[in-house]
Structures are given as C-alpha cells and as structure tokens.
Amino acid sequence: MLLSIQDLQVAFRLGERGAKTLVPAVKGVSFDIPENTTLALVGESGSGKSVTAMSILNLLPDNAQRSGRILWQGRDLLAASRPELQALRGREIACVFQDPMSSLNPVFTVGTQLCEPLIKHLGLGRRAALARAEELLAETGLPEPRRRLAAYPHELSGGQQQRVMIAMALACEPRLLIADEPTTALDVTIQRQILELIARMKDKLRMSVLFISHDLGVVGEISDRVVVMRHGVVREQGDVAQIFSAPQDAYTRALLACRPSLTDTPARLTVIDEHMAGGTSAGTASAAAKNPDAPVVLEVKSLAKSFFIKQGLFGRREFKAVQNVSFQLRRGHTLGVVGESGSGKTTMGLTLLRLHEPTGGEVIFDGQNLLALDDRQRQAMRRRIQIVFQNPYASLNPRFTIGQTLIEPMAIHGIGADTAEREDRARALLAKVGLPPETFFKYPHEFSGGQRQRVAIARCLTLNPEVLVLDEAVSALDVSVQAQVLNLLRDLQDELGLAYVFISHDLAVVRFISDEVLVMKDGQVVEQASAAQILAAPQQDYTRRLLGAVPRGWQPGPPALATR
C-alpha cells in the first residue's frame, strides 16, 4: 500500500483572539491508495476533499489541527518533522493545483521554475537540469519546448500553463501525484488533453494519482477507484465501475443524476436533496415544445467589436474579438453561445448591453437600434436587457446588504413609488428566486455561490427585463447547485417569458437550456442551428471536437483514456 489514510480528522481553529472555536472540516476519513492507481476524491465544495488531500503533506494553514494516521509506505506523516516532509514534497509526492495562472510565479521563466526542483531534489547541475526540463516539457506535449523554457507564464495559455505545472510536478518522478481540480479552470477541449496527459504520465512513471474533482463525469473517465465525500465524511468508496453502475449511497446516486447529459432533455434537472428524499419531480417529462412563432425581441445583425492594440510609437493593430455575428431571439426562447475561451462569446454578450462599445453592426431591440440610441433612451432600454455574470463572488457589492443591492436598480429607474413599495417588491423577488426573507438584511459574504447567483438573478428581475444575458452564469457553481440554478432559470422563463442569451463552454448545460445554439471560434460564428440538430449532426469539425471533449463519465467496456 502506497498511502493509507486512517480515521483522519481535521479541524480549524477559528475566531478572534479570545473566543476560539474549533470547526471540523474532515470527520474521520479512511481510504487507501495502492501503487499505480488513480483514486478520485469527489464531492461538492465544502465537502473536505481538498483539506483531506492537503493534510497529507501538511500544506494546510497554521490554524488546522490534524489527528488520525496518514501512513506513507508504513511511515506516519502526521508525526513527521518539517524537514522530513520537505524532503518528501515534490520528490515523492507532488501537487498540481486548480488555477495554473496563480500557481506559477509570474516573474520567473518557465525554465527557471522547472529547474528548481531538479536542482534541489535531484542535485543536478544547471546545464543538466535545463536539458531535463526541456525533455519534461516535450513529454507533456508542449510544442517547441526549447523556446518555452525562456518564456514567462503570461506568454502561455491556460492549458499550456497547466502542462508546465504537471511537468514541474513530475520533474522528480514522484510516486504519488495529488491533482486538486486540475482541469476545473480550463475549457472542455483543454480539459480532455490534460486528462489524457495525466493518464499517460501515470502509466509511464508507474505512479499513483489522487485526483480531486467535483465533477463525476471527469472522474469516471480517469480513475480506477472513487471516494465520494460529503460534509467531511466518506459516503461511499469503491471501484469506478461499481460507483457508476451500482451506486449504493443515495448521495452518490443523486450526484450522478443531477448532471445534465448530452443524450436526453428533461424539463427539469434533478436536485440532490429532492433525489435523496426520493422525490421524482424531475427527469421524467421532456421539455414542452416552445412556440416557434413567438415575437422576436432581439435581432442582431453583423455585430462586430474590435480592440486596438498599441504597437510601436504610433501604430496600432486591430484585434477582431467579434465579427459578423447575427441572430434572432424570440420571446421565451434561449440562445446558447458556446466556444472555447478567447472565442469572443463574452465580448459579444457585453457588446449587446453596450458594456463594450461595438465597432459595427446593429442590435435591434423592439424595433429600435440599441447602438444608435442617445444616452437617455439608452438608459430606458438598459432596463429591458440585463446581464448575470459568471463569478457570483465578484458580482455583488460586498458593502451592500442584499436589500440595498435589490433596491438600487429600482431607485435608479424609478420603479415603485417609494422605498416601502420597492422593499416589498424586493422581498417578493427574493421569494421568487427561492431565498428566505431574512436574506434581505444580510451581506453577500454570508451566502454560498449558488445563493449569490440567485441574488444576482433577482437583481436583474427587479427591472422587469425582457432579455437576460447569462455570461457563464453557472460555470463557477458545483454540479448540484448548477442544477438548482438551471431549474430556476427555466421556471422563470416559463413564468415571465424571458428570452435568454446563454453563454457557456459546457455543451451539456447549453443542451439542457437552449433552443438554438451558436458555436463561436476566434470571434466568428462557425455553426448556428437548433440545439438538437447541433448535437445530433454537427456540421463543423470544431463543433465535433467540442462535443467529443465533454466528459461522459464511466462507460462500460475498455477505459476511455487507455494507454496510447
């Protein structure tokens, strides 16, 4: 047994000087990692999966208390001294983190950062270390490894940065790789490449991988064994085939059920609590067909947005972020916009609201060209087209109570006669998005991501908009919370007849909510068709690649990521 965790408990000392409280994060977790095995830790945020993994090398903050046993090849790591742990870190056990952008030091070149563990742990000379670093980069599939050695992290894309992180982790050929949500920040296509890379390196180096993820779809493709965690305890563990084909625990079953899939389109998604309670309100009936002749609320004709990058002293280069986008959006319908990062989908959404000034084209809203309006008319139109942003932690003002947040837009646009009426309206909207009334006096930091996203949606609804632009509105949420928010969006659409522009990189989500799909690449629309059509018969290679990259979970038969 390579690593054996026995009854691990981790608690954090919290609170200010004086009154200290002990908050348990992990409550007695046990599992084993045999050699040359990929073990996946799955759970929602707050389930204690990352804390469990980080306590192996004691990479936790100082206020953490650990008890239990962590046996590394028979040695208890909880009792190990700092120098002993430092000798293990990077040499025997290596880590890859979620956000490659912030895990790499921006002021050193990739080469310098790669050489550090080689020189420190393996005692290589500078020249030999550089040669080995180049080999490692080549192994991780980075093109032109020699040139990349001299590059700084910002010169690489997210996927390339994650490759560098993996190369760094594998530099000393560790026995165990801890990968903490290594693909969550990446596009689906890049995610697939990174998963393949990890699987390949595992076979090549005959190491074990502890893979942490909230996404069962990803886990099913890469792991041999799965441990499902919730609220700091293990709900179920077993072989991947057993977890996916015959899950024993209600929570595991609910997790499996709540993910939107590419193959069927239920009217509502399953929500964990309902599923565990045995409710079957979701997943049975297919979505009702929408009225194809509903009035067009938004029509976009050859919309374009360019950024100008300064070059030299006077020159400037045009960067076409969005070119020639045209579509029609009917009342009560949803337009899905998919593409990799950098494809211009977010810029397109912001341009619709004129949060970016467009460089060309027309946005016709209710018969008026939005782009030709003067300031006052624009203010009136602004009310009718609203946006929900990706990151619910950043899109609410932390110094406003939820009540203030909701009343502000009404006060600006003169909706409601006085403050009392606005407050009533705000409370009604909170109830509508499924939040309790005491939310009104609370501050954003008291809420989870899913609740904040509900508040953000309620803020848009205060203005009675007709079109909502949802810019990756569920991408930052856990799978289970994502299902709740998607259900809410669908309910609101049915009730209020809203039209959505739904921007996402996740095809399964887009498939669930959209009627029509726009596939964007490098600022241009490469394919535009109904959701069913795009999935059933994609016309473009690019669309097919996006579809192929969606994680499908464990499939019976030979493993998806077999040794190549």
């Binding site: 609170g15 000087r17 004086g18 609203q386 990151n391 003002n397 502000e408 600006i412 005491e438 803020r459």
Partner: protein, 351 residues
C-alpha cells in the same frame, strides 16, 4: 388563553454590518485598543487646552529661567565671588547731591516707590518638567503645543485625503485623457523636491497655522492619490461595478457609492499615516522657522528652542516635546494598524 406564536413576535434577524464587524474585530485587538485609549486621552487633553481649561497660562513666566524639573531639585546657587568686577571695590560712594539737580526729589520718589505694590511674585526654583529660558512651564507648553500640532496634522491629513481621493478616483475610474492629465500633475508635484515645494508655498502664503495646514495638504496628497488611483483601476473592472453599470447606475454613483466603500480601508489607513507624517512635517517646518507664528507654541517650536538650550545642558524641553510626540505618534500608528486589520475584508476569518 390564546396560543402565542413565538416566531411571530421575533424581529427579522438583521446581520451585523461591515462597520460593526470591523469594530468588533478591533475591540478584540489589545494593542489597538490600548492605542485607541491613549489617542482618546490626547484628544481629551486637546479639547481641554482649546477650551482654556488647562495650559491657558502657558505664556506666564512663573519660574526662574531654565528651572530644572522637580525631581532634579533646584539648581545650586551660582558662586558670584569668582565673577567679582571692579564695582565690587570697597569704599564709600561719592556724594553728588550738591550738583545733582534731581537730588531734592529722590526722597519723594523713594516714598512713592515704596507705596507701589510690585507684582513680582517669587519665581519658583523648580517645575514638574522644568522651565524654558523665559521661565515658562514646559509641561503647559507641551500641552498647548499638542493642540496646535495635532490640529495641524489632522486637518492637513483630512484635506490631503480629500484632494488625493477625488483626483485618484477620477484618474483611476475614467483613465484616458483625464487620467493622463492627472498623472502629469502628479509627476510635476513629485518631481520637485518636497522641501523646495514647501518653501515655495510658504513664501507665497506667509506664516500661520492655516498656512502650514495648506502647505502640507497641497504637497502631501500625492502618495494617497497614487494608491486610490490603483484601487479604482482595479475595482472599476470588477464585476460588481460592471453589474452596477448594467442596471444603469451613473458614473458618480459607481465611483462613490459602489467603489469608495470598498477601498475605504486603504484610504483610512493612508490618512492615519498622513496624520503621523504631517505632525512630523510640522515639527520640521516650525524648526526651520516656516511653521507656527511666534505667539503660538507647537512641538516643532519647542524643539527649535531646545537646540540652543541643549548646549547649556537644559535638556528637559527637548525631552518633553519628544516624549509627547513619540507617545502620540506611536499610539496613532498602532491604532491605524489595528483599523487596517479590522477593516480589510481579506483578513477576515483567519486567526
């Protein structure tokens, strides 16, 4: 008897506001609380001095010149014998009454002089913290000096903060031409050596407490401006500001209703540092003779006087002014540090 629903009577739970949370965190910080108490004590002292309750008589010369502090005891009487001059020669004075035209009136004058009450009180030999070269109480001077110095420091810091925040907010939020112009202004101000700039302003504006305040505010806003500008650049592209724009909030509302409260901890702390810095600057200005006028006293004028006294071994004025300043500045800095920790949202939850 009707059953009363216990929940119905309960008021809706209101959450602790950001400021209240900050105050709770601040209260838990022992060092910061001690500093706060010291600062409050100084403020009370200033209030008392300003309303004339204490140290209103600081200009009275109630002790012998350079009287030492009480704990040192009175200065030993100087041995006059060694300094004997020619007038000390013995011998009867020459009688000049024959030729002195005023001689008949001497007796009359002496009589009148005897009638006059001389108000000359007995000068005390020692004072609690000694006296300056005119015999004025150093303690009273220091208390009165506190009033002027802290007033100058706080008012100048407030003024500089307002200037820096407004310009920084405009430069950071709008950028472009406005930002370029303000950057240019900033560069001009920082390119000129500080002390030269202060001299220039002092030469134009003349002398007085209000001038010192103006000089310090007009030269001291630059650092705060830069920091506020950076914060506004950072925050103006945040999603919550974007969201405010999407709901139609005006530029002013976004700048001052949305962003300003979120960068207030930076501004507050920076302002408290300015207070400390300006108190020290006022000392330097007064020392150079550009500060407060002769008929007022500040820690700076005390230090300026102390320069000459020190050669004669009269160190107590220097020590008193330094001690007052050191205690206040240290307490103020530590208090500011406590505020920073309490207000910074990033530190919340950590031990």
């Amino acid at each position: 008897m009707s059953a009363v629903m216990p929940t119905a009577a309960m008021p809706v739970q209101r959450s602790e506001g950001v400021w209240r949370t900050a105050w709770r965190r601040f209260k838990g910080d022992r060092v910061a609380m001690t500093s706060l108490v010291i600062v409050l004590a100084f403020i009370t002292l200033i209030g008392a001095a300003a309303s004339g309750l204490v140290a209103s008589q600081w200009q009275r010369e109630l002790a012998v010149p350079n009287a030492p502090p009480t704990f040192l005891g009175p200065r030993p009487a100087e041995d006059a014998g060694t300094l004997a001059g020619p007038e000390a020669k013995p011998g009867a004075p020459v009688d000049l009454s024959d030729i002195d035209p005023l001689a008949p009136r001497y007796a009359e004058w002496a009589e009148r002089a005897a009638k006059l009450q001389t108000a000359e009180a007995a000068k005390v030999e020692t004072l609690p913290l000694g006296a300056d070269r005119l015999g004025r109480d150093v303690l009273a001077k220091a208390v009165k000096g506190t009033e002027v110095s802290v007033f100058v420091g706080v008012l100048a810091a407030l003024l500089a903060t307002v200037i820096g925040t407004l310009l920084g907010a405009a430069a950071g939020f709008f950028g472009g031409k406005v930002g370029d112009f303000l950057e240019w202004l900033y560069n001009v101000f920082t390119a000129v050596p500080d002390i030269l700039l202060i001299f220039a302003f002092a030469a134009v504006l003349g002398r007085g407490v209000d001038t010192v305040v103006l000089i310090l505010a007009l030269t001291g806003w630059t650092g705060l401006y830069r920091q506020v500008r950076a914060e506004f650049i950072k925050h103006s592209s945040r999603e919550y500001v974007r969201a405010a724009e999407a709901i139609g909030a005006s530029a002013t509302s976004r700048m001052f209703r949305h962003i300003l409260p979120n960068v207030s901890h930076v501004i507050l702390v920076r302002m408290s540092l300015l207070v400390v810095g300006f108190i020290k600057s006022e000392v330097i200005l007064s020392y150079l003779g550009l500060g407060v006028p002769i008929d007022q006293v500040s820690w700076g004028t005390m230090l300026a006087e102390a320069q000459g006294e020190l050669i004669l071994g009269h160190w107590w004025q220097l020590a008193t002014a330094t001690a007052f300043m050191a205690v206040f500045v240290t307490a103020f800095s530590l208090m500011a540090d406590g505020w920073r920790d309490a207000l910074d949202p990033k530190l919340r939850g950590a031990e």
